[in-house]
Symmetry: C2
Subunit: 336 residues, 2 copies
């Protein structure tokens, strides 16, 4: 055993009861991109999604940390275009596509990355659509300027949705700035898991918000590629499980999931902030242990994702990433 990742998780039902947990689930953590689906609720509730005729793929992109592949970039551009705007309105910053092939192709075409390539461009395009409705008769560009700031009416609306879904009073919560410049608030894993149990079931949400949650989950299930990209964990899981699993990674080792069949929410934070080889392997093992898989294909996918073969530059098998047996034992002790 060469390297280790440690973390904490909470599995909570819609009534707020802790089904299983490990580690400190009351310490505030920054959920970052793991809660984009909560931040997208006002986009649907406000009527903005309908007003601009957003497609399921576009709604999925609003919940995404995408890899900047051409379809992601085009979809983000389409959302802005429907609102009569373009990428110049985005305040997320630019970075090269996370997808290696897309990045190299862009470089080979003598291109440079823009805000549409930013993994958060879909979330920001959703904010922009929401902002256009909130602006009413005011000038859209004028209203949207500085929309990433915590005190901007748009960001207050987004944060209010997070506050009501998690039940966490954000007024005095720790606050940091996310990679894409919007605020992220310190919220306990228990509260995050509770929010995702609410998203899974609609319980504890006002009817309009519960309907928005269902619509967003269905959109992501219909267009799972949009939420991540080629080969990405979240996209692979949701492509197979459909609406039976909503799951989303966030920077710094964050992971949240909604499991509608069980009516549970899951929130996971790895101490060291590692996503791909810590969070995702642990999440796959938790899905396995929670019995989410129904058939052989689903079991096989989770087995692949919870015990990953590592190969070196010549393709030789040189190791494995595997969930610790202890992770499953904790659930067994909780009677799952």
């Amino acid at each position: 055993m060469e390297s280790f990742h440690r973390g904490a998780y909470a599995i909570v039902d819609a009534a707020g009861a802790v089904v299983a947990a490990r580690g400190d689930i009351e310490r505030p953590v920054y959920p970052r991109s793991a809660i984009k689906i909560l931040q997208a609720l006002p986009l649907v509730e406000s009527g903005a999604a309908d007003r601009f005729g957003l497609t399921p793929a576009e709604l999925a992109l609003a919940c995404a940390s995408h890899d900047g592949e051409p379809a992601h970039v085009q979809t983000a551009a389409s959302m802005l275009s429907k609102a009569g705007l373009d990428e110049r309105v985005l305040e997320c910053g630019a970075h090269w596509p996370y997808n290696e092939a897309a990045k190299l192709a862009l470089a080979a075409a003598q291109g440079v990355p823009g805000a549409l390539h930013n993994n958060c461009s879909g979330k920001h395009a959703g904010f922009v659509c929401l902002g256009c409705v909130m602006a009413g008769d005011r000038d859209r560009r004028g209203f949207l300027g500085g929309y990433v700031e915590p005190e901007h009416p748009l960001m207050r609306e987004v944060s209010a949705a997070v506050e009501s879904a998690t039940g966490c009073d954000l007024t005095n919560a720790p606050r940091a700035t996310d990679g894409c410049s919007i605020p992220t608030f310190g919220i306990a894993l228990r509260q995050l898991a509770h929010a995702f149990a609410r998203m899974a079931t609609g319980q504890g949400l006002a009817p309009g918000r519960a309907a928005a949650a269902r619509r967003l989950r269905a959109a992501v299930a219909a267009a799972p590629f949009m939420v991540g990209g080629s080969g990405r964990f979240d996209s692979r899981v949701m492509a197979l499980f459909g609406e039976r699993v909503f799951c989303k990674v966030g920077a710094e080792g964050m992971y949240c999931a909604a499991l509608p069949e069980a009516g549970w929410g899951l929130a996971l934070k790895m101490d060291d902030g590692n996503n791909a080889r810590a969070c995702e392997v642990a999440a796959a093992a938790l899905f396995e242990a929670l019995g989410v898989a129904r058939n052989e294909a689903e079991r096989a996918l989770l087995a692949d994702l919870s015990d990953v073969t590592l190969r070196n530059w010549r393709g030789r098998e040189v190791g494995r990433l595997a969930a610790a047996p202890d992770l499953r034992r904790t659930l067994a002790r909780a009677g799952i």
Copy 2:
């Protein structure tokens, strides 16, 4: 405090006495690229470095995990050319340059990466030069085939140097395959630190080996860019400290250093395998606490490297990477 990295380290003198330590320093860890300087000893001792007229820059590259910038690629090619060979002999595999600008420039020029871009190409080119001397009258290419295999005479020679420097019997040590296909052996942090104290002082090494150690350290100090690249931690530290610090990162959170003035060796392993934001920050803090800096510029560099400002995609300051106060307290308790 959002994310945490844990680890263990040993600081040992040339007699093998533990000067300071934290965590389990007897558990075998895979040192990987952190001990390339040990693996380069036979290149010098065998006379191969002299026979092929290797320059300090070329010897530094033999100890390097380089970023695949043009100067690295050219230097590796030059080493092979001096031995009458080319990159086709390399068994390290190919990958895109780690340096982002070099990678994007290669893609923009419609290029593809080869074995020379592999971060280990200098180490492998050094192995090839050694192998050419070991081959004697035999066909060089024939002798070199499969040189990465643990039982190949070349790799046995390299492993023997590691064995004698560390004092660790590798016969029954855990063995894994490194990213570049050569074997890596499980060795205790205490033994690794002891090896670097020997490299720092020459004590406990045969005269020829001690001379080789001095020559390699001097080569790296003369060409610190070769050992890493633009902006890389090891290159920045050694560019300023010269022969007063030899330091080298290795995959999976490994770090080794030789401190000739104190006569100490340092070996550090971060549990989660994180290099850039765990190992390097911890190493900089340890150098600070060990009093390696002599002047304001040196103190300023270590302060920068042990407390790093993080910026998001728009350049906003969003956080810090900082060594835990506890790291320094451990040294203080050891009377340092």
